[in-house]
């Protein structure tokens, strides 16, 4: 996304400068450093607002949804209709609250803990693509990076629980640690399946491999992936510490769990981090299983528009449409999490761990094995049987970043065959340098 913003900024610079000077190109040359700094700042601001404004929206949604589920209205008055300013009023209240630090607390760690969780949640969004190429920082192994960073988020409740100097907080922290560390195992097994199907850990590649009709989405790839999505979603709910897995903040037994001693703005940072990571895991689910930024029907392809020669503005327009798609899917995921929260009762700690170790982990392992075997024997997916758009060849948006099909890299044996065949027909000259210069494909099928 940095590139797109930077191009936009450059155009803006030149347009502005053209009012004052004759030759803006000389004043603001191509790849102007300030453009990159500004682009970085704009991206940071945008992502920060995904967490902050997202939390504003999600907390309002949570109130309305819980109200409707419990046959109430939820907030109705603040901000006119629908109570849509309720969260803002809450925020004002939180800012105005007294900021307490208990006497027994480790003041330094107590102050630090909320920001750690917020930073981890923000860093996960940094590598999460919002559309084709619209990503704060394009990491080659972005899926792995996001998992690693989300695993660090648990550090914040642990530090908070320890530093509060209260046994309720410490109980909550230890529970959360046990839960999150356990659920990382089945979650890791679940996310590996789309990686195996696609052959890349780059979320952009995974998303683009599911372009076309919705039958291309990995959730509809085969029965195993369909089942494994639900395990992923269960583990995702547990890993962001939402009900029915919110043992760490069980009001009925632990006062408020790890944030018992927090008040005001520090407390709200925990919740911004929670809603931020809810969005992140839902977005991850959208990319891994639901085609990411691709709509269910390839509209642009149907209009006869595909390929990359449509200029800058149409490309960004298509990306913006993809971004809307992606955010819609992620918000649906968050909504389902809220639905689950207000429907199911809270589990006991032993039930939480049993669910993870006795059900989720073996199921995930078995389904993973099944999906991998289907992939290994080239079992036709549903989409291969139906006369649909082939995956990886169609892009809904006009931007084409990735090469559609990975080039088959030849192993030693295949190469030997190829060379012996060559020897009969053509002079076989494939020098080492040519091989080294040939473009690397990610995860090419061996």
């Amino acid at each position: 996304m940095g590139k797109a913003i930077n191009q936009l900024l450059e155009a803006g610079y030149h347009w502005l400068a053209a009012w004052f000077v004759e030759n803006p190109q000389a004043l603001f040359p191509e790849s102007c450093w300030s453009g990159y700094v500004l682009a970085a700042l704009i991206q940071c601001a945008l992502l920060l607002n995904v967490v902050a404004v997202g939390a504003l929206l999600f907390i309002w949604m949570e109130r309305k949804i819980s109200g409707r589920i419990q046959d109430r209205l939820g907030p109705t008055r603040v901000g006119g209709r629908f109570g849509w300013l309720q969260t803002l009023a809450d925020g004002l209240k939180l800012i105005a609250k007294e900021d307490l630090i208990p006497q027994d607390a480790d003041a330094f760690l107590f102050r630090l803990a909320p920001y750690l969780g917020f930073a981890a949640s923000f860093m996960a969004l940094l590598a999460l693509p919002f559309s084709n190429g619209w990503v704060g920082w394009e990491v080659n192994v972005s899926l792995f990076f996001i998992l690693a960073v989300m695993g660090l988020e648990v550090f914040s409740p642990i530090l908070a629980g320890y530093a509060s100097g209260s046994k309720w907080a410490l109980f909550g922290a230890i529970r959360e640690a046990a839960q999150v560390v356990s659920y990382e195992v089945p979650m890791g097994m679940c996310v590996v399946v789309p990686v195996v199907l696609c052959g890349s850990m780059n979320l952009l590649t995974i998303g683009n491999a599911q372009a076309g009709l919705f039958t291309n989405w990995y959730i509809f790839h085969d029965p195993f992936t369909f089942c494994i999505f639900w395990i992923y979603f269960t583990c995702a709910i547990a890993s962001v510490n939402r009900a029915p897995f919110d043992l760490a903040e069980a009001e009925s037994e632990l006062v408020a769990g790890f944030h018992t001693e927090y008040s005001g703005l520090r407390w709200s940072f925990f919740f911004m981090a929670e809603y931020g990571s809810m969005f992140a895991v839902s977005g991850l689910a959208a990319i891994l299983f639901f085609g990411g930024w691709h709509g269910p029907f390839p509209i642009f392809y149907g209009l006869g528009v595909s390929g990359g020669d449509f200029g800058w503005w149409p490309m960004q327009l298509a990306n913006a449409a993809g971004c809307v798609n992606f955010i819609l899917k992620a918000v649906v995921g968050v909504t389902v999490m809220m639905w689950v929260r207000w429907t199911l009762p809270r589990l006991r700690i032993d039930q939480v761990i049993t669910t993870c170790l006795k059900y989720c982990t073996p199921l995930a392992a078995g389904l993973f094995l099944g999906a991998v075997i289907l992939k290994a024997v080239h079992f036709p997916s549903i989409n291969d049987l139906a006369p649909a758009v082939r995956p990886g060849e169609v892009r809904e948006s006009w931007v084409l970043l990735e090469a559609p099909a990975p080039v088959v890299e030849k192993g030693p044996v295949e190469k030997e065959h190829a060379q012996s065949e060559h020897a009969r027909n053509l002079p076989p000259i494939v020098s080492e340098k040519q091989l080294a210069a040939s473009p690397q494909t990610e995860g090419g099928s061996l």
Binding site: V141, G151, L152, E409, G411, V430, L435, G444, L446
Partner: protein, 201 residues
């Protein structure tokens, strides 16, 4: 322009290196074990930042996952649940400081001497602007090598030469089996002792 003249790569390298070293010193001077663990986590994260800066994204993410995450788990289950008063607030005696400084200083000396003996590392690369980090970014090669295929050496034609290039499958398997043994052993040691009901009692 002043800002344009700065070599941002060097700037961020120094930034992350200083963070890593500073927090490492913090681990040394702190007496509270939870703060120590926190400084260790920050120091290891800054090292991950160095990896990301060098373009080794997979290694960086690994560093975050294993070292930073692993330290955290160690902290929670190893230290916080078992530590007594003496370890929560650790006071290092003077003799240990001297011993540790001698051992650490010796290793540091060896490291520095060896590092400066590599001629390539003490002079800047003349082709710096032509360097590309794109190739180091993919994990395909190392991943394939772990399952026994060396993608970087497909050119060896005859089977005898290929035999020596079969990747790291054997060491990988040995390490995996070793880890499995350790896991089973740990589970065996940590299992709850079942009470045997004596028939007479």
């Amino acid at each position: 322009m002043l800002l344009a003249a700065i070599n941002w790569h060097s700037f961020f390298f120094l930034f992350f290196a200083l963070l890593a070293c500073g927090f490492a010193v913090g681990v040394l001077v702190s007496t509270n074990i939870v703060r120590m663990a926190f400084y260790l986590v920050m120091s290891l994260s800054a090292t991950a930042g160095l990896f990301f800066l060098a373009g080794a994204e997979f290694v960086g993410a690994m560093q975050l996952m294993i070292y930073v995450g692993g330290t955290m788990v160690l902290l929670i289950f190893g230290v916080m649940l078992t530590a007594r008063e003496r370890f929560i607030d650790m006071q290092t005696p003077g003799g240990q400081w001297v011993l540790a400084a001698a051992a650490g200083g010796l290793f540091f000396f060896i490291l520095v001497v060896n590092a400066f003996q590599v001629p390539d590392w003490s002079t800047p690369n003349p082709h710096q602007d032509q360097l590309s980090i794109a190739e180091s970014k993919t994990t395909t090669q190392i991943g394939a090598a772990f399952v026994g295929v060396r993608l970087d050496r497909p050119e060896a034609d005859n089977a005898t030469q290929r035999a020596g290039m079969s990747g790291y499958l054997l060491p990988f398997e040995i390490v995996s089996v070793h880890l499995l043994v350790v896991l089973i052993g740990a589970a065996y040691l940590a299992r709850a002792k079942r009470r045997v009901d004596q028939p007479g009692s």
